[in-house]
């Protein structure tokens, strides 16, 4: 057991018993943390692992949430039946959106994904086909029912979010150990070298996009159930900036980094409501300061780097 495994185990055990230790306010914060951490993990697959500059991740989170909301409220689907759609639709949209632009150089891709996010927000606000409910969004989403049992308590929602996060962690772990994960890693490290090794770059990048979108969509579904409502502000471009910042401030491709980032960005504001006004100012300053002091993030990943004993000794020449 190395240090990371121990830390991960402690983290998971604490999160598993968390609902029994706290009151309802903290439980709500716990759900928020789990949902946003899951989305941040999924962004980390795209941005941290594949190195694709995606600044429109709130789109997929939003599509998942809106899919659940629309299918439930307008078409009378059970929540549990909407979840497959909330996973598949973001995948389809991710491939359709990213497909034509995936070959773009980093910064251009960044701007294109910002563009998609702003278009997405306008689509939601302008109430397309009378489905998205315009600026107010959709209210009155049902509770989850499994075999006739109604899972309406916060504890139940907490465990749904917890299970999703654990699944996400398992997926990421498997990804890192698979051919796909290694391909993404090499693409991220050196695209030209990866290409010359015969790695099909657009394919793997799209794969990362689709996987990230699927997880974000599932998280969106839980988000919709938690608030039993969805509205465009939750999925605007500023949210995407937050997810983008979480991954990079925390440390890309680093799970503890993402957890720290989520905690700072989404949990602290819930704890200190008095600094809501100046919240973004402080975050902005913290983002600049973190990057200046630790350009690779607070807790950078070490996966796949050359082990210390193999590194050329810089001191002795």
């Amino acid at each position: 057991m190395n240090k990371t495994t121990i830390l991960a185990t402690i983290f998971i055990v604490v999160m598993a018993v968390f609902p029994f230790l706290v009151d309802s306010t903290w439980l709500t914060i716990g759900i928020t943390f789990l949902v946003f951490a899951t989305v941040a993990f999924s962004q980390d697959i795209i941005l941290g692992r594949a190195g694709v500059f995606n600044m429109g991740h709130a789109i997929f989170f939003g599509i998942g949430a809106y899919t659940t909301a629309i299918l439930n409220v307008h078409f009378g689907f059970e929540i549990i039946e909407t979840i497959p759609f909330a996973i598949i639709f973001p995948i389809i949209i991710a491939i359709l959106l990213a497909g034509p632009i995936i070959h773009l150089r980093g910064d251009y891709l960044l701007v294109a994904t910002i563009g998609f996010n702003i278009i997405f927000e306008q689509v939601l606000k302008n109430d397309v086909f009378g489905l998205t409910g315009g600026p107010n969004g959709i209210f009155g989403i049902d509770v989850v029912r499994i075999f006739g049992y109604e899972l309406f308590s916060d504890t139940a929602i907490y465990y749904m979010a917890f299970i999703l996060m654990i699944l996400t962690l398992i997926i990421i772990r498997n990804l890192d150990n698979s051919r796909y994960g290694r391909a993404l890693y090499y693409i991220n490290k050196d695209e030209i070298a990866a290409k010359s090794m015969g790695i099909n770059i657009p394919y793997y990048k799209l794969f990362a996009f689709a996987l990230g979108a699927a997880i974000a969509g599932a998280a969106g579904s839980i988000f919709a159930v938690q608030y039993s409502a969805v509205s465009p502000e939750s999925f605007n471009f500023m949210q995407s900036v937050m997810f983008f910042a979480i991954v990079l401030v925390g440390g890309s491709a680093s799970l503890p980094g993402v957890i720290i980032g989520t905690f700072v960005m989404f949990v602290l504001p819930e704890l200190f409501t008095e600094f809501k006004e100046s919240r973004y100012l402080i975050f902005g300053a913290a983002m600049v300061l973190t990057m200046v002091l630790r350009p690779n993030g607070v807790w950078p990943a070490t996966f796949g780097n050359i082990p210390k004993f193999l590194r050329p000794n810089k001191g002795a020449k």
Binding site: V111, I118, Q122, G284, M287
Partner: protein, 300 residues
């Protein structure tokens, strides 16, 4: 036809504003390969600074040309100072860091400026006085041009021409172009790269400040988060023209202004932003280097 001509005038006005702001993006991108996300917020900041200078210095007294010029000069100086400070604090320490770190730093700086505006001036909309510039209008057979529009068109044309000459004909301009092509080689030729970058931030911030003041004079309503809207539009203008290219930013700004005005005039104002971004994405797919951008071998 009248509508078309009217929208043409409006489009050229907005386009000039975009072009002024776009120059700040394109120069920074050209030299540092960094999207300066904070530039749009600097533009919004300058509009607020201008408004405050007006109310502090001149209060209720009737506005005159001299007053307006004083506002422009003072605001440009203040904003240029903030721009240089921004570069020193947020970008200079990250020159050798991974590209994405600088992007996050820029986003952070943008949040700081945007919310700084909110904390200083409050979250409510601020209104620019209507009589700062004369309310004269000219009517050319149904097509109306206001004095403000004329000022924007003329002054931005003059500024852009001056910048074009500065970049292409002077020694400092040559240094800027050399640094944009290859920083290390420029350093070897004895160019002080730090000085060049500071200069770029001064020029870009000043042009942005003038753009911001014009936005205040033209639209009159200011919100603390308007920087993103104008910033993104200006950035799109820079991409349309070919990012890194100064004449490209000017052409891109004018084209985007016309495009916006025609969409607003003939199709819909609700979806205007969507059309702008669809245009952006089409351009990125078809010709990512823009109209005047060079086709270079892509490294990453």
């Amino acid at each position: 036809m009248d509508i078309f001509l009217q929208q043409l005038i409006n489009g050229l006005t907005i386009g000039s504003l975009y072009a002024l702001v776009a120059l700040g993006y394109t120069m920074v991108y050209g030299v540092m390969k960094l999207i300066n996300f904070a530039h749009g917020d600097l533009v919004a900041f300058s509009a607020y600074v201008g408004l405050t200078i007006f109310s502090q210095l001149f209060g209720s007294s009737a506005s005159s040309f001299v007053n307006v010029i004083i506002i422009f000069v003072l605001t440009s100086i203040i904003v240029a100072f903030v721009g240089v400070l921004l570069e020193r604090l947020a970008y200079r320490p990250l020159r050798t860091a991974p590209r994405l770190s600088a992007v996050v730093s820029a986003l952070g700086a943008s949040l700081v400026i945007q919310n700084g505006i909110m904390l200083i001036w409050g979250p409510n909309m601020q209104i620019f006085p209507a009589d700062l510039l004369p309310n004269t209008t000219w009517n050319f057979g149904g097509v109306i041009i206001t004095f403000t529009q004329l000022c924007i068109l003329i002054l931005s044309a003059v500024l852009m021409a001056a910048l074009f000459i500065f970049i292409n004909k002077t020694k400092m301009g040559t240094a800027i172009r050399a640094t944009a092509i290859d920083q290390d080689a420029a350093k070897l030729m004895g160019i002080n790269v730090n000085k060049v970058i500071t200069l770029i931030f001064i020029i870009g911030s000043m042009l942005g400040a003038i753009g911001g003041l014009f936005i205040g004079l033209y639209y009159r309503a200011l919100t603390f988060d308007m920087g993103w809207l104008y910033g993104l539009n200006a950035f799109i203008a820079a991409i349309i023209g070919g990012i890194g290219s100064i004449p490209g930013a000017m052409i891109g700004g004018l084209l985007l202004g016309l495009f916006n005005a025609l969409i607003a005039g003939y199709i819909s104002t609700e979806w205007a932003e969507t059309f702008t971004f669809i245009l952006l994405i089409i351009i990125l797919i078809v010709r990512p280097t823009g109209i005047l951008g060079e086709k270079t071998a892509e490294k990453v």
